[in-house]
Symmetry: C2
Subunit: 343 residues, 2 copies
DNA sequence: CGCTACTGTCGAACCGGTTCGCACAGAGGA
DNA sequence: TCCTCTGTGCGAACCGGTTCGACAGTAGCG
C-alpha cells in the first residue's frame, strides 16, 4: 500500500511538501503540485485514516447509537438511521454504528477511544443512561428524542404534544365525541419513552377541553398480542367512532382486525395513525396519519452536530432544543361518525 | 485525555512496559502489573483507536455496505444489518456503515484508507459493481447474496431455488392446480437481483413438473402501485386458487386487497409468502411463508469474515459459497382449494 | 565460584500522516 | 551592491500506540 512517503519519492519532493501539495495549506508551485498529483494517481494513493486521525485528532466519523429495545418497533428506527447516515455523508463523515443492547458501553467505547468526532443518540429516554456518559465525553452529541435534562447536548424531537392535539382536533372537527387511543406498550413508558405519554397527555387534555371522551390504552408491539389488544379495545368501547393509533405495530395489524369485524374506515370507524409517509407507502397502511418525519429529525441532528464538530458553534454556546411540528396527511380514513343505530 | 505515557509515568515504568503489562504479551511482575492497572483506572485511560490501528494495522472495524435501492424493500435490510452488527460486536468488532447510493465509492473509501479490517456486502447483485473493487482490496470480504462470479469472496445466501420449489410443492400437495406468483419489481431483476428469477424459475419448473399452471408476474415495491398490481392479477386469473408472494410490499398490501374483495385466506385463496418470521410478527402478516432467515445470513457472513481477518483461514484457502435451506412456517393461510363453483 | 539461562524492564524505532520553523533563491527597492 | 521581502521547499518533531533487541539482575547448575 502506497504511503505519502512513496508519493513524495516518486514526485521528487519531501513528505511535507507532498502533504502541503495535497492539502493546499501552503503555497506550492504549479509544477510540484502536478508532479505530486501524478504520483498520487499513478500509485493509487489514499491517506491512511488511522494515521490522519492520529495527526489531526479528527476522524471524520460520527457515532450512531441506535437502540433496538424489546417492545419497541424496529423498522421505524431504520428511517432515522438513514436520515443520519445520508446527511453525515453529505458532510464528509462516515458512520460508526452501534446497536449494542448496552448503549452506555458502546458510547464509552467510541468516545474514549476517539473513534468518532461526535455522536448521535437515537431513541433517547427520559432518563437516559447514556446521557451522563455523553456529557463527560469530549466530543459533542446530538439527540433524537427528548430527555428530562437537556444540558450539554443538542436535542431534536417531534412535537408529540402538538401531535396529540392535532389528532384529537381533527376527529373533533368531523363530529366525533367518543374516541380511542392506542399507544405504544406500557413497557416503553416505564423505560422512559416519554414521547408516549407526551402525546397521550396532550390528547387527553385536548379531548377534555372539547368535551370529548377519550379512552387511552397501551398496545403491544407485535403479533399476536397487538391483535388481541385491538380486538379487546373495540369490544370494550362499541360506541367509539374514532381510533387514534400511536403504535406502528397496531397500525400494521389494524387492516386485518377491521377485516375480521367487517368494519371499514371511514364508514364505520375513523382512524388516524402516527407514522411517516414512507412507512405508510411501504406497508400499505391506508390511514390518515400524523407525519413523524424521522429522516428530517436525523438530518437536523447531524447538521447541528457537524456545526459543533467543526467549531462553527462553540462548545459553550447555548445548546438547542428543537421540536418539529407534525403535519396531518389525509389518506381518507376519517370522516363524519356513523349515525347512531346505523351499525 | 490520558495516553499510555501518562499511565507509564504514574506507574513509574516505561511506556513499553505499560503496554506489555496491558497486553500480556510479555512476562511482567505482579507488582508492576498492579501499578499499571491502578494507573489505568485512576486516569480512566483508554487506548486511542487511531494510534493502535496505525501500529497494529488492525482497526477492529468491519465495513457494512447496505444498499437502499429504489424499488427495493428497505425494512428487510434492517434485519440483515442487525444480524451483522450484533455478530460483529460479539467478536469485538465495530461496524462502519455505508448507505451511499454509490456503493463502489463507499467501498473504495473504506478499504483504501484502511478504516476497516474487512467488509460485508449486502444485497449483492448478479454483476455487482462493488465486486471488482472488493477483489482488488487488501481486506477480505463476505457477501450476502449470490453474484455470477464468486471468486475471492465468501458468499452466503438463501437457497432461492429451493424456496421456489417449496412454495409450489406445498400448494400442489394441498390440491392446487392454478397458482399465481408475485415477484419483486422487474427493475430489481434488471439491476441484477438474481434472487428474483432464481426463485421464479425454480417455481415455474416445479409447477411444470407437477402439471400445474403457474402465472408469474412482477409486483411494485410500494403503494399505491402494488395494490393495483395485486388487483389486476386477481382479475386476470379468477380461477387461480393459490397465491405465492415473493415481494414484501405485496405481502403487506395483501390483507387490504383481500378485504376489499371480500376474500379470505385460506377459504377463498391459499397464500404463501417469502419473508422472515420477525417480519411477519411485526407487520401482522397472517400468511404462511418461507422463512428468509436474514439474521442468520448476516451472522454467517460475519463469522466467516472474522475467520479470514484473524488468519484462521488464509487468503488462499478456498472461499465458501453457502446456501441456507429455507423452511416453511405455517400460519394457516393455506388449505385445500375451494371447490369449483363455490365462489 | 563461575558460567549459563531466564525474568523483567527499558530504549528506540516504527506505523503514516500533519505542521512548525527555518533555509534558500530570486525579485525588487534603496 | 546590499538588504529585505516573498515564494517554495525541506527537516524534524509530534500524534499515541506496539514491538524488537538489548541488558541488568537473579537463579540454577556443574
Amino acid at each position: 500500500m502506497a504511503t505519502i512517503g512513496d508519493v513524495a519519492r516518486i514526485a521528487g519532493v519531501s513528505r511535507s511538501t507532498a502533504s502541503y501539495a495535497l492539502s493546499g495549506k501552503r503555497a506550492i508551485s504549479a509544477d510540484v503540485r502536478r508532479r505530486v498529483e501524478d504520483a498520487v494517481s499513478s500509485l493509487g494513493y489514499t491517506p491512511n485514516a488511522g494515521a490522519r486521525a492520529l495527526a489531526t485528532t479528527r476522524t471524520m466519523v460520527i457515532g450512531l447509537l441506535a437502540q433496538f429495545l424489546p417492545d419497541e418497533f424496529a423498522p421505524a428506527m431504520l428511517q432515522y438511521m438513514l436520515g443520519v447516515s445520508d446527511t453525515a455523508r453529505e458532510h464528509g463523515y462516515d458512520i460508526l454504528l452501534a446497536t449494542d443492547a448496552d448503549g452506555t458501553r458502546a458510547l464509552r467505547r467510541m468516545t474514549d477511544s476517539r473513534m468518532v468526532d461526535g455522536v448521535v443518540l437515537l431513541n433517547v429516554a427520559e432518563h437516559d443512561e447514556r446521557l451522563p456518559i455523553l456529557r463527560s465525553a469530549s466530543q459533542p452529541g446530538a439527540l433524537v428524542g427528548l430527555p428530562a435534562d437537556c444540558t450539554g447536548v443538542d436535542v431534536f424531537d417531534l412535537d408529540f404534544e402538538e401531535a396529540g392535539r392535532l389528532m384529537v382536533d381533527h376527529l373533533h372537527r368531523l363530529g366525533h365525541r367518543e374516541v380511542l387511543l392506542v399507544s405504544q406498550p406500557e413497557h416503553v413508558v416505564e423505560r422512559g419513552g416519554a414521547y408516549v405519554w407526551r402525546l397521550q397527555n396532550a390528547a387527553l387534555e385536548a379531548a377534555r377541553a372539547r368535551g370529548m371522551r377519550l379512552y387511552a390504552t397501551y398496545g403491544s408491539s407485535s403479533q399476536p398480542d397487538v391483535g388481541r389488544d385491538l380486538r379487546g379495545l373495540l369490544d370494550a368501547h362499541p360506541d367509539a367512532t374514532g381510533l387514534l393509533v400511536n403504535n406502528e405495530a397496531a397500525a400494521a395489524a389494524l387492516p386485518t382486525v377491521l377485516h375480521e369485524r367487517g368494519l371499514s374506515a371511514p364508514q364505520d370507524l375513523s382512524v388516524v395513525g402516527r407514522y411517516s409517509d414512507e412507512f405508510a407507502r411501504t406497508f400499505s397502511l391506508p390511514f390518515t396519519s400524523v407525519e413523524s418525519a424521522p429522516d428530517r429529525l436525523g438530518r437536523m441532528a447531524v447538521r447541528q452536530l457537524v456545526r459543533r464538530i467543526e467549531g462553527e458553534v462553540g462548545p459553550d454556546e447555548p445548546h438547542v432544543v428543537r421540536f418539529v411540528s407534525p403535519e396531518l396527511v389525509d389518506r381518507g380514513s376519517t370522516g363524519a361518525p356513523p349515525r347512531r343505530g346505523d351499525a
